[in-house]
Subunit: 436 residues, 2 copies
C-alpha cells in the first residue's frame, strides 16, 4: 500500500465518519422536531399553560366584515380603488381580522384553527366600530323610508340572530367568544346579550360593571392618528412645554377640557388649541407633539382618547387628567414610567399644572422618553410584534377564567342569592394627587 | 508503512474525528442551554406567558412554620419521634412548604428563587390552619394567666408585624404575596390586612366578597382522610347505593344534614351514619366509600368539606348537596363528569334523591368512575404530579392580574367613587335543579 492509497483510505474514512456524525446529529434534531409542541415545551420548562391558545375565526357573512367597508364607501360616493379599511382610531377590528386572515402566521400567541372543534376561543370579526359610522351624517327621511340606509342597529341584531344559530355560541353561554367593540358605542344595542364574552374595547365608559371589566375583558389602545416620532430622545427640539389640540367642549368627564383651556391658554410655553379631526389638524398635531416635552391628555366624553397613544408614539410625555381611565396592557406596562397622572381637582387649580411640569428636570424627561421608546411597539398596530400580538396575548391569559366560568355555570344549582353571583378583584387604593 | 501502522493511523484518525464531532455537537448543546429560558421558548412557540413563574419563599421565623408543629405536639404531651405534621384535612400548608423546601424540584409550574429581587410572587409559609388547633381544648385559666398557652391570635398578629418590616411586602401593597389559609377560620383576625394577596383556601364561607374571590384566589382541595381506592372501575363490589358518615348536626347550610338523615336513614340500600373523626371511623368510612356507588356530600358549617375528596379518591360518585360550593381547579375539571349536583330544596323532598340515584344506569356509573380515575391525581397531595403542582399552576395563572393590580394601584388618582373600585366576573346562570 503506497502513501497515496493510505491518504485515500484516510480521506474515505473521514468522509464516512463525518457523514455518520452528521446523520447522528440530525437524528436528534429530527426526533426533537417530531415531538408535539406542548410536550417539547415541557422538556424545557413547566407544564403550565404554555401551548398557544387556539382561536377559531367565524366565517361571518361578508356584510359583517368587508361588507361594512363597502357600505361605508358607498355612503361616501362609492369605492375608489381596492377595498381598504378607512383610517380611524378604532381600526383594531381591521388589524385583528387581517392578522387572522394572513398566511404564515408565526410568533403569535394564538394559533388560528380552521376546525371549530379544536378551538379554545371563537373570534367574531364583526366590524362593529366602523358599522357605527357608516352613515356620514343623519340620512334624509326619504332614504330611510326607502330602506336604502345602512342601519347599524339592524346589523347588531342580525349578528345576534346569526350567532344564535351557531352551536358553539350556545354551547358555553358565549364565555369563549371574543368580540371587538372599540368605539365606546359599538354593539351598544346587543352588549347585554354578548356580555359573557371577552370584549376587546378601549373604554368602560358606556358599560355596566356586570357587562365589562378588567378581569373579563381586554383594554385596547386606539390606533394612533399622527405619525410616529422616529428621532431619538432629547429636549433640544422640544421647545414647547405642553401641547394639546382637540375639542375644547366635551360632555361629562370631558368638561374638564374647557377649564384646562382657561387656565392654560395664556401660558407662554403652552400650546393649547381647539380643533377637530382633519388631515390638516393631524399634521399640525404631529408637529406639535413632536416638538413638545409634555402632551396633555384630558378625558373626552369617556375616559379614554386616542391622544394618549399619539403622545406615546411622539415620545411626548403624556399628562393624563382623566380620573377613571383604564389603560391597555397594564400588566406589562407601568404607566408611571411613561406618563404623568394628575387628578382632575388638582389639575384645574390655577398654576398647579404649569408649576408641576416646569419643575421636572431635563434628566427626568429623558428618562420618561427612554421608557416611552421601550414600550412604543405595544402601540403600533402595524409592528409584527406590536399591538396585535399583545392583544392576543391578553386574550390568551383569559383562558383559565373562561374555562372556569364555562364549567362552573353548567353545574350551578338553583339557589337564593342575596346579591349577584360575582367574583371580583377590588382595589382599596385611596388614590394620590399626582405621581411625579 | 506496514499494515499495523495503517490501522494505527486509521484508528487514531477515527478517534480524533469522533472527538471533533462530539465537541461540535456539544458546542450546539451548550450554546442552546446558554440562551435565557424566555428566549429559548420563543424559539419553539409563542412569546406568551410560558416562562415558569418565579416564587420566593420567605424564611419566616421558625415559630411560624415548624415551630407550630412543635407547639402542637407539646400541647399533646411532647414530641414522640421526629417533627412531623399531624395528619389532618388542612395539610396543604405542609405539602406546599415541603415542596418548596425540597431539593431538585423539576417539572413544577413554579421555580423557587432564593433572591427575592428575582421573584414574581412571594410565598408566606405560615402554618395558619395548624396554628388554629394547637390547643387541643380550651386551656385552663391558670395556664392562660401564666402566658403558657399558645395563642393563634398572637401568632397572626406577629406574622403581620413581621411582614410589615419587609420591604417586598410594602412594595406592592401585598398583591404579589401568597398565603395559605385552608381552614375556613385560618388567619381570621388579620385577613382584612392580607386580602390583597392570593389566598389559598378551601372555602369562601367566612370571607367577604372584597376579601376573597375565584378571580383573585385559589380553591384548594382538602387532603383526603381515607385511603384511596386502588381497584378498577366497577359496581360488583359496590352493593350500597349511597353512603354518608359524618356529623349529623351542623350550623347554617349544614342544617340540611339532619333533614337528609331523616329522609334517608330508613332506605335499605343507603348507609347514613352519624360519626365524628377518629381513626376507627375513618377505617369504617373507607370501607363504606369503597363499597358504595354514590357518596353523599352535604354542606357542613361552610359549603366545602373533605368528604368530597374522600369520595373522589374512592371512585364513589359524589352527590353534592351544597348550593354555594366552590370547587378546586374548575378550569381543568368539569365536575359534571364526576359528580351529581342536587339543589338543597329538591334534595330534601322525600323520595327525590333516592329515586334519582336508583335511576342511574350501571353504564353511567362506570362512565363517572372512569372520569373520576382520570382526575384523581389532582386530589393526591403526595402525587409528584398531583395537587401541589396544580396549586402552583393556579397561582401562576394569577400573575397577569397581580401585575395589573400592582401597576394600576400605583397610578390611581384621587377620585369620587360611587361604589368600590372592583372588577368582576359575574355569572348570570339562574341554576338548575339537578345535573344528571
Amino acid at each position: 500500500m503506497g502513501r497515496k492509497s493510505i491518504f485515500k483510505t484516510l480521506t474515505l474514512a473521514t468522509i464516512l465518519i463525518l457523514f455518520a456524525c452528521y446523520a447522528f446529529f440530525n437524528t436528534f434534531k429530527l426526533a426533537e422536531s417530531e415531538i408535539p409542541i406542548a410536550s417539547r415545551e415541557n422538556l424545557i420548562s413547566s407544564p403550565s399553560n404554555s401551548a398557544p391558545v387556539k382561536i377559531y375565526m367565524y366565517d361571518l357573512p361578508r356584510k359583517f366584515t368587508l361588507g361594512v367597508i363597502k357600505s361605508y364607501a358607498t355612503a361616501r360616493g362609492g369605492l375608489k380603488g381596492p377595498l381598504t379599511y378607512p383610517g380611524n382610531q378604532h381600526s383594531a377590528e381591521w388589524y385583528l381580522f387581517s392578522d387572522l386572515t394572513r398566511e404564515g402566521r408565526v410568533g403569535s400567541p394564538v394559533t388560528r384553527v380552521l376546525d371549530p372543534e379544536e378551538a379554545d376561543v371563537f373570534y367574531v370579526p364583526f366590524f362593529s366600530s366602523l358599522s357605527l359610522v357608516v352613515n356620514p351624517i343623519r340620512p334624509g327621511n326619504g332614504e330611510v323610508q326607502k330602506g336604502l340606509v345602512y342601519s347599524d342597529e339592524e346589523m347588531q341584531e342580525g349578528l345576534i340572530q346569526w350567532l344564535e344559530e351557531q352551536g358553539y355560541w350556545r354551547r358555553n353561554n358565549g364565555w369563549d367568544h371574543v368580540f371587538v367593540c372599540q368605539d365606546p358605542n359599538a354593539l351598544y344595542k346587543v352588549v347585554e346579550r354578548v356580555k359573557n364574552g371577552v370584549l376587546l374595547l378601549s373604554d368602560f365608559g358606556r358599560l355596566g360593571g356586570n357587562q365589562a371589566s378588567l378581569v373579563k375583558d381586554v383594554i385596547l389602545p386606539y390606533s394612533h392618528r399622527i405619525r410616529s416620532f422616529d428621532g431619538d430622545v432629547g429636549v433640544e427640539s422640544r421647545k414647547s412645554l405642553l401641547f394639546f389640540m382637540g375639542n375644547r367642549y366635551r360632555k361629562e368627564g370631558g368638561k374638564v377640557r374647557n377649564l384646562l383651556f382657561q387656565i392654560l391658554e395664556n401660558e407662554d410655553d403652552v400650546t393649547i388649541k381647539h380643533g377637530a379631526q382633519s388631515r390638516e389638524s393631524r399634521r399640525a398635531a404631529s408637529q406639535g407633539m413632536h416638538t413638545s416635552k409634555f402632551c396633555l391628555h384630558p378625558a373626552g366624553d369617556t375616559p379614554s382618547a386616542c391622544r394618549l397613544f399619539d403622545a406615546i408614539v411622539s415620545l411626548c410625555v403624556p399628562v393624563i387628567v382623566s380620573d377613571y381611565i383604564e389603560l391597555p396592557f397594564e400588566d406589562v406596562i407601568d404607566y408611571r414610567k411613561i406618563a404623568v397622572f394628575v387628578d382632575t381637582k388638582s389639575a384645574v387649580k390655577p398654576g398647579y399644572l404649569i408649576k408641576l411640569l416646569r419643575g421636572v428636570s431635563t434628566e427626568r424627561i429623558l428618562k420618561f422618553q427612554q421608557e416611552l421608546k421601550k414600550v412604543k411597539r405595544y402601540f403600533e398596530y402595524e409592528d409584527p410584534n406590536g399591538t396585535v400580538n399583545e392583544i392576543w396575548r391578553q386574550v390568551s391569559q383569559k383562558l383559565p377564567l373562561i374555562k372556569l366560568m364555562i364549567n362552573r355555570d353548567k353545574r350551578i344549582v338553583t339557589r337564593d342569592l342575596p346579591e349577584p353571583d360575582c367574583s371580583c378583584l377590588c382595589s382599596n387604593q385611596s388614590g394620590i394627587d399626582t405621581i411625579l
